[in-house]
Amino acid sequence: MTALHVSRFTLHVSHVCGRVQHNQGDLLNFLRTVWAVVAKDITAELRTREMISAMLVFSVLVLLVFSFALDLQGTVARAAAPGVLWATVAFAGTLGLGRSLAREHQTGCIDGLLLAPVDRSAIFLGKALGNLAFIVVVEGVLLPLFSALFDVPLLRPAVLLVAALGTVGYAVVGTLLAAIAINTRAREVMLPVLLIPLAIPALIAAVRATGVLVDGGVLAEVGGWIRLLVVYDLVMVAVSMLTFDFVVEE
Protein backbone atom coordinates (compact mmCIF):
# COMPACT_ATOMS: atom_id res chain seq x y z
CA MET A 1 0.00 0.00 0.00
CA THR A 2 2.66 2.43 1.12
CA ALA A 3 5.09 1.43 -1.57
CA LEU A 4 2.31 1.84 -4.09
CA HIS A 5 1.61 5.33 -2.83
CA VAL A 6 5.26 6.28 -2.91
CA SER A 7 5.75 4.99 -6.41
CA ARG A 8 2.57 6.74 -7.50
CA PHE A 9 3.82 10.00 -6.04
CA THR A 10 7.31 9.76 -7.49
CA LEU A 11 5.85 8.79 -10.84
CA HIS A 12 3.59 11.79 -10.65
CA VAL A 13 6.41 14.14 -9.66
CA SER A 14 8.79 12.86 -12.32
CA HIS A 15 6.00 13.03 -14.84
CA VAL A 16 5.20 16.63 -14.07
CA CYS A 17 8.83 17.66 -13.82
CA GLY A 18 10.04 15.78 -16.83
CA ARG A 19 7.31 16.78 -19.19
CA VAL A 20 9.42 19.28 -21.02
CA GLN A 21 12.02 16.61 -21.74
CA HIS A 22 9.48 14.32 -23.36
CA ASN A 23 9.46 14.16 -27.08
CA GLN A 24 7.82 16.88 -29.05
CA GLY A 25 4.64 14.95 -29.74
CA ASP A 26 3.90 14.63 -26.03
CA LEU A 27 4.48 18.29 -25.43
CA LEU A 28 2.26 19.20 -28.35
CA ASN A 29 -0.49 16.93 -27.08
CA PHE A 30 -0.17 18.46 -23.64
CA LEU A 31 -0.44 21.98 -25.01
CA ARG A 32 -3.38 20.96 -27.18
CA THR A 33 -5.21 19.69 -24.09
CA VAL A 34 -4.44 22.89 -22.22
CA TRP A 35 -5.75 24.92 -25.13
CA ALA A 36 -8.90 22.79 -25.38
CA VAL A 37 -9.76 23.56 -21.75
CA VAL A 38 -9.02 27.27 -22.21
CA ALA A 39 -11.10 27.39 -25.39
CA LYS A 40 -13.98 25.64 -23.64
CA ASP A 41 -13.95 28.22 -20.85
CA ILE A 42 -13.77 31.14 -23.27
CA THR A 43 -16.61 29.75 -25.40
CA ALA A 44 -18.79 29.21 -22.33
CA GLU A 45 -18.03 32.71 -21.15
CA LEU A 46 -18.73 34.27 -24.54
CA ARG A 47 -22.16 32.62 -24.53
CA THR A 48 -23.22 33.69 -21.06
CA ARG A 49 -20.91 36.62 -20.27
CA GLU A 50 -21.96 36.19 -16.64
CA MET A 51 -18.49 36.03 -15.11
CA ILE A 52 -16.78 38.89 -16.90
CA SER A 53 -19.76 41.21 -16.53
CA ALA A 54 -20.08 40.41 -12.81
CA MET A 55 -16.36 40.98 -12.28
CA LEU A 56 -16.40 44.26 -14.20
CA VAL A 57 -19.42 45.71 -12.46
CA PHE A 58 -18.11 44.55 -9.11
CA SER A 59 -14.69 46.12 -9.67
CA VAL A 60 -16.27 49.46 -10.64
CA LEU A 61 -18.32 49.24 -7.45
CA VAL A 62 -15.19 48.59 -5.40
CA LEU A 63 -13.57 51.64 -7.03
CA LEU A 64 -16.62 53.67 -6.10
CA VAL A 65 -16.46 52.48 -2.49
CA PHE A 66 -12.76 53.35 -2.31
CA SER A 67 -13.31 56.77 -3.81
CA PHE A 68 -15.87 57.53 -1.10
CA ALA A 69 -13.88 55.91 1.68
CA LEU A 70 -10.58 57.63 0.87
CA ASP A 71 -11.84 60.73 -0.96
CA LEU A 72 -9.65 59.93 -3.96
CA GLN A 73 -8.62 63.25 -5.50
CA GLY A 74 -5.35 64.88 -6.51
CA THR A 75 -2.32 63.77 -4.51
CA VAL A 76 -4.34 61.40 -2.32
CA ALA A 77 -5.47 59.56 -5.45
CA ARG A 78 -1.90 59.26 -6.67
CA ALA A 79 -0.65 57.94 -3.33
CA ALA A 80 -3.51 55.51 -2.85
CA ALA A 81 -3.79 54.40 -6.50
CA PRO A 82 -1.58 51.27 -6.41
CA GLY A 83 -3.25 49.94 -3.27
CA VAL A 84 -6.76 50.65 -4.50
CA LEU A 85 -6.01 49.16 -7.90
CA TRP A 86 -4.62 45.90 -6.52
CA ALA A 87 -7.26 45.53 -3.84
CA THR A 88 -9.88 45.90 -6.59
CA VAL A 89 -8.18 43.31 -8.80
CA ALA A 90 -7.83 40.90 -5.87
CA PHE A 91 -11.49 41.17 -4.87
CA ALA A 92 -12.79 40.94 -8.43
CA GLY A 93 -10.38 38.04 -8.98
CA THR A 94 -11.78 35.97 -6.10
CA LEU A 95 -15.26 36.58 -7.47
CA GLY A 96 -14.29 35.24 -10.90
CA LEU A 97 -12.21 32.34 -9.60
CA GLY A 98 -15.01 31.14 -7.36
CA ARG A 99 -17.54 31.41 -10.16
CA SER A 100 -15.34 29.64 -12.69
CA LEU A 101 -15.02 26.50 -10.57
CA ALA A 102 -18.61 26.67 -9.31
CA ARG A 103 -19.80 26.58 -12.93
CA GLU A 104 -17.74 23.45 -13.58
CA HIS A 105 -19.44 21.78 -10.65
CA GLN A 106 -22.98 22.90 -11.38
CA THR A 107 -22.84 21.67 -14.94
CA GLY A 108 -20.93 18.51 -14.02
CA CYS A 109 -18.31 19.54 -16.54
CA ILE A 110 -15.45 18.91 -14.11
CA ASP A 111 -16.42 15.21 -13.96
CA GLY A 112 -16.26 14.99 -17.72
CA LEU A 113 -12.89 16.70 -17.76
CA LEU A 114 -11.48 14.38 -15.12
CA LEU A 115 -12.80 11.29 -16.92
CA ALA A 116 -11.04 12.31 -20.11
CA PRO A 117 -7.86 10.31 -20.68
CA VAL A 118 -5.61 13.33 -20.47
CA ASP A 119 -3.04 14.62 -18.06
CA ARG A 120 -4.66 16.32 -15.08
CA SER A 121 -2.00 18.98 -14.84
CA ALA A 122 -3.04 19.94 -18.38
CA ILE A 123 -6.59 20.40 -17.11
CA PHE A 124 -5.28 22.45 -14.23
CA LEU A 125 -3.14 24.64 -16.48
CA GLY A 126 -6.10 25.11 -18.80
CA LYS A 127 -8.36 26.22 -15.98
CA ALA A 128 -5.66 28.49 -14.56
CA LEU A 129 -4.98 30.08 -17.96
CA GLY A 130 -8.70 30.58 -18.53
CA ASN A 131 -9.05 32.30 -15.16
CA LEU A 132 -5.94 34.34 -15.93
CA ALA A 133 -7.48 35.44 -19.21
CA PHE A 134 -10.66 36.61 -17.48
CA ILE A 135 -8.75 38.59 -14.85
CA VAL A 136 -6.58 40.12 -17.59
CA VAL A 137 -9.70 41.22 -19.49
CA VAL A 138 -10.99 42.90 -16.32
CA GLU A 139 -7.61 44.58 -15.82
CA GLY A 140 -7.69 45.69 -19.43
CA VAL A 141 -10.83 47.66 -18.67
CA LEU A 142 -9.84 48.66 -15.16
CA LEU A 143 -6.43 50.20 -15.91
CA PRO A 144 -7.57 52.80 -18.49
CA LEU A 145 -10.69 53.52 -16.46
CA PHE A 146 -8.61 54.01 -13.33
CA SER A 147 -6.12 56.26 -15.15
CA ALA A 148 -8.94 58.42 -16.45
CA LEU A 149 -10.97 58.60 -13.23
CA PHE A 150 -8.13 59.35 -10.85
CA ASP A 151 -5.62 60.95 -13.23
CA VAL A 152 -2.86 58.42 -12.51
CA PRO A 153 -0.49 57.29 -15.31
CA LEU A 154 -1.04 53.52 -15.24
CA LEU A 155 -0.85 52.75 -18.96
CA ARG A 156 2.91 52.35 -19.08
CA PRO A 157 4.67 49.19 -20.27
CA ALA A 158 6.43 48.74 -16.92
CA VAL A 159 3.13 48.90 -15.01
CA LEU A 160 1.62 46.41 -17.44
CA LEU A 161 4.54 44.05 -16.83
CA VAL A 162 4.01 44.26 -13.07
CA ALA A 163 0.29 43.71 -13.57
CA ALA A 164 0.92 40.64 -15.72
CA LEU A 165 3.39 39.10 -13.27
CA GLY A 166 1.17 39.81 -10.28
CA THR A 167 -1.85 38.29 -11.95
CA VAL A 168 -0.19 35.03 -13.06
CA GLY A 169 0.64 33.79 -9.56
CA TYR A 170 -2.69 34.98 -8.20
CA ALA A 171 -4.69 33.19 -10.89
CA VAL A 172 -2.71 29.95 -10.53
CA VAL A 173 -2.89 29.58 -6.76
CA GLY A 174 -6.45 30.93 -6.88
CA THR A 175 -7.47 28.16 -9.29
CA LEU A 176 -6.01 25.50 -7.00
CA LEU A 177 -7.70 26.94 -3.91
CA ALA A 178 -11.01 27.45 -5.74
CA ALA A 179 -10.97 23.74 -6.61
CA ILE A 180 -10.53 23.06 -2.88
CA ALA A 181 -13.08 25.62 -1.71
CA ILE A 182 -15.80 24.36 -4.04
CA ASN A 183 -15.71 20.97 -2.28
CA THR A 184 -16.24 22.39 1.20
CA ARG A 185 -19.44 23.16 3.04
CA ALA A 186 -18.84 26.91 3.01
CA ARG A 187 -18.04 26.98 -0.76
CA GLU A 188 -17.68 30.54 -2.08
CA VAL A 189 -17.09 31.97 1.40
CA MET A 190 -14.04 29.77 1.80
CA LEU A 191 -12.07 30.99 -1.23
CA PRO A 192 -11.14 34.53 -0.11
CA VAL A 193 -10.29 33.29 3.37
CA LEU A 194 -7.89 30.73 1.89
CA LEU A 195 -6.54 32.83 -0.96
CA ILE A 196 -5.92 36.34 0.38
CA PRO A 197 -3.33 35.42 3.05
CA LEU A 198 -1.40 33.35 0.50
CA ALA A 199 -1.50 36.20 -2.00
CA ILE A 200 0.12 38.65 0.43
CA PRO A 201 3.64 38.45 -1.09
CA ALA A 202 2.31 39.09 -4.61
CA LEU A 203 0.03 41.88 -3.39
CA ILE A 204 2.80 43.69 -1.51
CA ALA A 205 5.22 43.36 -4.41
CA ALA A 206 2.68 44.52 -6.99
CA VAL A 207 1.50 47.47 -4.89
CA ARG A 208 5.03 48.64 -4.11
CA ALA A 209 6.30 48.26 -7.67
CA THR A 210 3.24 50.04 -9.08
CA GLY A 211 3.73 52.81 -6.52
CA VAL A 212 7.31 53.45 -7.54
CA LEU A 213 6.38 53.39 -11.24
CA VAL A 214 3.44 55.77 -10.77
CA ASP A 215 5.78 58.19 -9.00
CA GLY A 216 7.85 58.33 -12.17
CA GLY A 217 10.32 55.57 -11.35
CA VAL A 218 11.88 53.36 -14.00
CA LEU A 219 11.81 49.58 -14.30
CA ALA A 220 15.34 49.21 -12.88
CA GLU A 221 14.21 50.69 -9.55
CA VAL A 222 11.66 47.93 -9.01
CA GLY A 223 13.96 45.05 -10.00
CA GLY A 224 13.71 43.47 -6.54
CA TRP A 225 9.93 43.46 -6.58
CA ILE A 226 9.84 42.08 -10.13
CA ARG A 227 12.15 39.26 -9.09
CA LEU A 228 9.96 38.52 -6.07
CA LEU A 229 6.90 38.35 -8.35
CA VAL A 230 8.69 36.01 -10.76
CA VAL A 231 9.76 33.72 -7.91
CA TYR A 232 6.23 33.76 -6.48
CA ASP A 233 4.78 32.86 -9.89
CA LEU A 234 7.24 30.03 -10.47
CA VAL A 235 6.79 28.57 -6.98
CA MET A 236 3.01 28.76 -7.24
CA VAL A 237 2.89 27.15 -10.68
CA ALA A 238 5.17 24.34 -9.53
CA VAL A 239 3.42 23.63 -6.22
CA SER A 240 -0.05 23.90 -7.73
CA MET A 241 0.75 21.53 -10.59
CA LEU A 242 2.25 19.01 -8.17
CA THR A 243 -0.71 19.09 -5.79
CA PHE A 244 -3.68 19.52 -8.13
CA ASP A 245 -3.94 15.76 -8.71
CA PHE A 246 -4.61 15.26 -5.01
CA VAL A 247 -7.34 17.87 -4.99
CA VAL A 248 -9.38 16.19 -7.72
CA GLU A 249 -8.54 12.61 -6.75
CA GLU A 250 -12.12 11.38 -6.21
Partner: protein
Protein backbone atom coordinates in the same frame (compact mmCIF):
# COMPACT_ATOMS: atom_id res chain seq x y z
CA UNK B 1 0.37 2.59 17.91
CA UNK B 2 -2.91 4.46 18.03
CA UNK B 3 -4.60 1.97 20.35
CA UNK B 4 -1.49 1.85 22.52
CA UNK B 5 -1.41 5.60 22.80
CA UNK B 6 -4.90 5.55 24.20
CA UNK B 7 -4.70 2.45 26.36
CA UNK B 8 -1.23 3.03 27.70
CA UNK B 9 -1.75 6.65 28.60
CA UNK B 10 -1.68 5.84 32.31
CA UNK B 11 1.87 4.53 32.10
CA UNK B 12 3.09 6.73 29.31
CA UNK B 13 6.78 6.94 30.26
CA UNK B 14 7.83 9.14 27.37
CA UNK B 15 4.94 11.49 28.05
CA UNK B 16 5.84 11.81 31.73
CA UNK B 17 9.50 12.37 30.91
CA UNK B 18 8.66 15.00 28.31
CA UNK B 19 6.27 16.79 30.64
CA UNK B 20 8.81 16.71 33.47
CA UNK B 21 11.62 17.96 31.28
CA UNK B 22 9.57 20.80 29.85
CA UNK B 23 8.38 21.74 33.35
CA UNK B 24 11.96 21.91 34.65
CA UNK B 25 13.14 23.79 31.57
CA UNK B 26 10.29 26.29 31.82
CA UNK B 27 11.13 27.04 35.47
CA UNK B 28 14.80 27.34 34.59
CA UNK B 29 13.94 29.73 31.76
CA UNK B 30 11.67 31.79 34.02
CA UNK B 31 14.36 32.00 36.67
CA UNK B 32 16.98 33.04 34.15
CA UNK B 33 14.71 35.62 32.55
CA UNK B 34 14.10 37.37 35.88
CA UNK B 35 17.25 36.67 37.91
CA UNK B 36 20.10 35.87 35.53
CA UNK B 37 19.55 38.06 32.48
CA UNK B 38 20.68 41.67 32.93
CA UNK B 39 18.30 44.59 32.87
CA UNK B 40 18.34 46.09 29.40
CA UNK B 41 19.75 49.62 29.44
CA UNK B 42 17.20 51.59 27.40
CA UNK B 43 14.05 49.48 27.57
CA UNK B 44 14.31 48.34 31.17
CA UNK B 45 12.55 45.32 32.60
CA UNK B 46 9.95 45.16 29.84
CA UNK B 47 12.66 43.81 27.54
CA UNK B 48 12.59 40.56 29.55
CA UNK B 49 9.48 39.57 27.57
CA UNK B 50 11.83 39.24 24.58
CA UNK B 51 12.99 35.76 25.63
CA UNK B 52 9.51 34.23 25.60
CA UNK B 53 8.44 36.35 22.64
CA UNK B 54 11.26 35.05 20.44
CA UNK B 55 10.83 31.49 21.73
CA UNK B 56 7.12 31.41 20.92
CA UNK B 57 7.76 32.97 17.49
CA UNK B 58 10.28 30.21 16.78
CA UNK B 59 7.79 27.51 17.80
CA UNK B 60 5.11 29.17 15.67
CA UNK B 61 7.32 28.92 12.61
CA UNK B 62 8.61 25.43 13.43
CA UNK B 63 5.12 24.05 14.06
CA UNK B 64 3.95 25.17 10.62
CA UNK B 65 7.04 23.63 9.07
CA UNK B 66 6.10 20.34 10.76
CA UNK B 67 2.58 20.68 9.34
CA UNK B 68 4.00 21.13 5.84
CA UNK B 69 6.18 18.02 6.23
CA UNK B 70 3.24 16.06 7.66
CA UNK B 71 1.17 17.19 4.65
CA UNK B 72 3.78 15.81 2.28
CA UNK B 73 3.86 12.63 4.36
CA UNK B 74 0.10 12.31 4.08
CA UNK B 75 0.02 12.82 0.31
CA UNK B 76 2.78 10.23 -0.15
CA UNK B 77 1.54 7.55 2.25
CA UNK B 78 -2.11 8.40 2.81
CA UNK B 79 -1.95 7.41 6.47
CA UNK B 80 -4.11 8.97 9.14
CA UNK B 81 -1.20 9.52 11.57
CA UNK B 82 0.33 12.13 9.27
CA UNK B 83 -2.94 14.02 9.29
CA UNK B 84 -3.12 13.81 13.08
CA UNK B 85 0.41 15.24 13.24
CA UNK B 86 -0.43 18.05 10.80
CA UNK B 87 -3.59 19.03 12.65
CA UNK B 88 -1.98 18.90 16.09
CA UNK B 89 1.02 20.91 14.96
CA UNK B 90 -1.17 23.62 13.41
CA UNK B 91 -3.05 24.03 16.67
CA UNK B 92 0.20 24.30 18.62
CA UNK B 93 1.54 26.76 16.05
CA UNK B 94 -1.59 28.89 16.33
CA UNK B 95 -1.35 28.90 20.12
CA UNK B 96 2.28 29.98 20.10
CA UNK B 97 1.76 32.52 17.32
CA UNK B 98 -1.08 34.03 19.35
CA UNK B 99 1.37 34.29 22.23
CA UNK B 100 3.91 35.94 19.94
CA UNK B 101 1.36 38.55 18.91
CA UNK B 102 0.24 39.21 22.49
CA UNK B 103 3.75 39.46 23.93
CA UNK B 104 4.74 41.62 20.96
CA UNK B 105 1.89 44.01 21.74
CA UNK B 106 2.82 44.09 25.45
CA UNK B 107 6.42 44.86 24.52
CA UNK B 108 5.52 47.46 21.92
CA UNK B 109 3.30 49.50 24.24
CA UNK B 110 6.00 50.80 26.64
CA UNK B 111 8.86 50.73 24.11
CA UNK B 112 7.22 52.24 21.03
CA UNK B 113 4.24 53.85 22.72
CA UNK B 114 1.70 51.78 20.80
CA UNK B 115 0.30 48.26 21.04
CA UNK B 116 0.75 47.59 17.40
CA UNK B 117 3.19 48.78 14.78
CA UNK B 118 3.38 47.36 11.30
CA UNK B 119 6.84 46.18 12.09
CA UNK B 120 7.99 43.39 9.74
CA UNK B 121 8.29 40.63 12.30
CA UNK B 122 4.95 41.40 13.93
CA UNK B 123 3.29 41.67 10.54
CA UNK B 124 4.62 38.34 9.32
CA UNK B 125 3.39 36.72 12.54
CA UNK B 126 -0.05 38.16 11.89
CA UNK B 127 -0.04 36.89 8.30
CA UNK B 128 1.02 33.43 9.48
CA UNK B 129 -1.67 33.47 12.11
CA UNK B 130 -4.33 34.32 9.51
CA UNK B 131 -3.10 31.63 7.12
CA UNK B 132 -3.43 28.92 9.72
CA UNK B 133 -6.74 30.21 11.02
CA UNK B 134 -7.86 29.69 7.42
CA UNK B 135 -6.39 26.17 7.60
CA UNK B 136 -8.52 25.41 10.66
CA UNK B 137 -11.60 26.87 8.94
CA UNK B 138 -10.94 24.74 5.89
CA UNK B 139 -10.83 21.59 8.03
CA UNK B 140 -14.00 22.60 9.83
CA UNK B 141 -15.81 23.05 6.52
CA UNK B 142 -15.18 19.50 5.22
CA UNK B 143 -16.96 16.51 6.69
CA UNK B 144 -15.45 13.52 4.86
CA UNK B 145 -12.29 12.66 6.87
CA UNK B 146 -10.22 11.46 3.92
CA UNK B 147 -10.99 14.50 1.83
CA UNK B 148 -10.43 16.80 4.80
CA UNK B 149 -6.99 15.32 5.36
CA UNK B 150 -6.08 15.55 1.67
CA UNK B 151 -7.22 19.16 1.20
CA UNK B 152 -5.62 20.22 4.47
CA UNK B 153 -2.34 18.62 3.38
CA UNK B 154 -2.39 20.51 0.07
CA UNK B 155 -3.23 23.79 1.79
CA UNK B 156 -0.58 23.21 4.46
CA UNK B 157 2.06 22.76 1.76
CA UNK B 158 1.01 25.68 -0.45
CA UNK B 159 0.63 27.93 2.61
CA UNK B 160 4.05 27.14 3.98
CA UNK B 161 5.91 27.88 0.75
CA UNK B 162 4.44 31.39 0.77
CA UNK B 163 5.77 32.11 4.28
CA UNK B 164 9.37 32.91 3.24
CA UNK B 165 8.07 34.97 0.30
CA UNK B 166 5.81 36.93 2.65
CA UNK B 167 8.78 37.43 4.92
CA UNK B 168 10.88 39.00 2.13
CA UNK B 169 7.99 41.08 0.86
CA UNK B 170 7.14 42.47 4.29
CA UNK B 171 10.78 43.21 5.12
CA UNK B 172 11.39 45.09 1.87
CA UNK B 173 8.08 46.86 2.21
CA UNK B 174 9.24 48.26 5.55
CA UNK B 175 12.86 48.99 4.68
CA UNK B 176 11.80 51.13 1.72
CA UNK B 177 9.70 53.26 4.06
CA UNK B 178 11.55 53.04 7.36
CA UNK B 179 9.37 53.49 10.39
CA UNK B 180 10.44 56.37 12.63
CA UNK B 181 9.23 54.42 15.63
CA UNK B 182 11.83 51.81 14.80
CA UNK B 183 14.74 54.25 14.94
CA UNK B 184 17.44 53.17 17.41
CA UNK B 185 15.71 49.93 18.23
CA UNK B 186 19.04 48.06 18.25
CA UNK B 187 19.58 46.08 21.41
CA UNK B 188 23.00 45.38 22.87
CA UNK B 189 23.09 41.62 23.37
CA UNK B 190 25.27 40.37 26.20
CA UNK B 191 26.34 36.73 26.72
CA UNK B 192 23.90 36.36 29.63
CA UNK B 193 21.09 37.41 27.33
CA UNK B 194 22.15 34.79 24.80
CA UNK B 195 22.23 32.07 27.48
CA UNK B 196 18.75 33.02 28.67
CA UNK B 197 17.43 33.05 25.13
CA UNK B 198 18.88 29.61 24.40
CA UNK B 199 17.35 28.13 27.56
CA UNK B 200 14.00 29.72 26.68
CA UNK B 201 14.16 28.25 23.18
CA UNK B 202 14.90 24.78 24.58
CA UNK B 203 12.12 25.12 27.16
CA UNK B 204 9.56 26.17 24.55
CA UNK B 205 10.62 23.43 22.15
CA UNK B 206 10.16 20.83 24.91
CA UNK B 207 6.81 22.34 25.81
CA UNK B 208 5.81 22.16 22.14
CA UNK B 209 6.80 18.49 21.95
CA UNK B 210 4.84 17.70 25.13
CA UNK B 211 1.71 19.50 24.03
CA UNK B 212 1.95 18.14 20.49
CA UNK B 213 2.12 14.59 21.84
CA UNK B 214 -0.87 15.17 24.11
CA UNK B 215 -2.86 16.69 21.26
CA UNK B 216 -2.05 13.73 19.01
CA UNK B 217 -3.10 11.30 21.74
CA UNK B 218 -6.34 13.22 22.11
CA UNK B 219 -7.00 12.96 18.37
CA UNK B 220 -6.25 9.22 18.46
CA UNK B 221 -8.66 8.87 21.39
CA UNK B 222 -11.30 10.65 19.33
CA UNK B 223 -10.69 8.16 16.50
CA UNK B 224 -10.86 5.22 18.90
CA UNK B 225 -14.12 6.55 20.36
CA UNK B 226 -15.60 6.89 16.87
CA UNK B 227 -14.62 3.29 16.08
CA UNK B 228 -16.16 2.03 19.33
CA UNK B 229 -19.34 3.97 18.68
CA UNK B 230 -19.57 2.50 15.20
CA UNK B 231 -19.13 -0.98 16.67
CA UNK B 232 -21.82 -0.39 19.30
CA UNK B 233 -24.13 0.82 16.56
CA UNK B 234 -23.56 -2.24 14.42
CA UNK B 235 -24.02 -4.59 17.41
CA UNK B 236 -27.26 -2.83 18.33
CA UNK B 237 -28.46 -3.14 14.75
CA UNK B 238 -27.71 -6.87 14.83
CA UNK B 239 -29.67 -7.28 18.06
CA UNK B 240 -32.70 -5.32 16.94
CA UNK B 241 -32.81 -6.83 13.48
CA UNK B 242 -32.82 -10.40 14.82
CA UNK B 243 -36.14 -12.00 13.87
CA UNK B 244 -38.48 -12.57 16.85
CA UNK B 245 -38.61 -16.18 18.03
Amino acid sequence: MREDAVRGSRRDVLGVVLAGLSGVAMFAALGMVFLYAPREATMGDVQRIFYFHVASAWIGFFAFFVTCLAGIGYLVQGERRWDVLALSSVEMGLTFTTMTLLTGALWARPVWGTYWTWEPRLTISLVQWLIYVAYRMLRAAIEAPERRARFAAVYGIVAFVTVPLSWFAIRWWRTIHPDILMGGEGMAITPRMVHTLVVSLVAFTLLYATLLRLRMQLECAVDALARLQARVESLRDQLTSRPPD
